[in-house]
């Protein structure tokens, strides 16, 4: 399965819904999307990963890159994920301490800190 991406805005937040597999082949597509959003002035991003079947370290690298970019504009990047197999990768790499991870898009949109 390839990568699918769609975006929508809720208030000042931009929701990026990701589906499929994020790996060394597809991650550049996600990177391009995040870079484009930040270049267009969207600095508060919520990446909804509920449709993600597979995530590897290349995908993690892209998310970290996105976080660095929005932080340069005092923005935020929040993740939505309930899948244990995906959450495990964030735990292994210590990135649960770096990304705010929410259980729903509504929760991520409502979060302020």
């Amino acid at each position: 399965m390839d990568l699918s991406l769609s975006t929508r805005t809720v208030g000042d937040r931009t929701i990026v819904s990701v589906g499929g597999e994020i790996d060394v082949y597809t991650a550049p597509k996600l990177r391009e999307q995040l870079v484009e959003l930040v270049n267009d002035g969207s600095y508060h991003l919520v990446v909804d990963m509920e449709g993600v079947d597979f995530l590897d370290s290349t995908g993690l690298g892209v998310l970290v890159g996105g976080l660095k970019r929005v932080r340069a504009h005092e923005g935020s990047l929040r993740l939505v994920c309930n899948q244990e197999r995906i959450l495990k990768i964030f735990r292994i790499t210590g990135l649960t301490k770096v990304f705010p991870i929410h259980t729903s898009v509504d929760e991520a949109v409502a979060a302020t800190d």
Partner: protein
């Protein structure tokens, strides 16, 4: 001799194929279903790393994957052709040349493998690098 051997051009689009093949062979070898996701992720990380190393060095030789089913263990070896001395300059993500991602991913890939796999060995010599991983199998392999 390995149960299944795979050689693929060092291109990102082939890493998914390696993941699928490894998971299929692991399942057949009797690796627990609950661990198959880890096998898939670990072999994907090892192959992504090898692809990045080959691409970074401009090598056109294939990445090698061997999948071996032993009596009580399933082994995966992923080999690359980048000699030890040249490995520091390699990157896992050829497209990631924007200065934000890139070099960190080499270590993150290994961090994921180390976190997932109890039995893992990463070596490199003048001929290239090798990642060896193994998982226990059930006594009665699946059909």
């Amino acid at each position: 001799m390995a149960t299944v051997e795979l050689r693929f051009s060092a291109l990102p689009e082939h890493v998914r194929t390696a993941r699928l093949v490894a998971a299929a062979v692991a399942r057949r070898a009797g690796v627990d279903d609950a661990v198959l996701d880890e096998v898939r992720l670990a072999v994907g990380e090892a192959c992504s790393r090898a692809v990045g190393l080959h691409t970074g060095q401009g090598l056109d030789t294939p990445v090698r994957v061997s999948l071996t089913e032993d009596e009580k263990v399933f082994r995966i070896e992923v080999g690359d052709d980048v000699p030890q001395g040249a490995r520091g300059a390699a990157r896992t993500s050829p497209e990631g040349a924007d200065g934000v991602e890139g070099d960190d991913e080499v270590d993150m890939g290994l961090a994921v493998i180390s976190g997932l796999v109890d039995d893992v060995e990463v070596t490199a010599d003048e001929r290239g690098g090798l990642i060896r991983m193994s998982w226990p199998t059930n006594p009665e392999p699946l059909d």
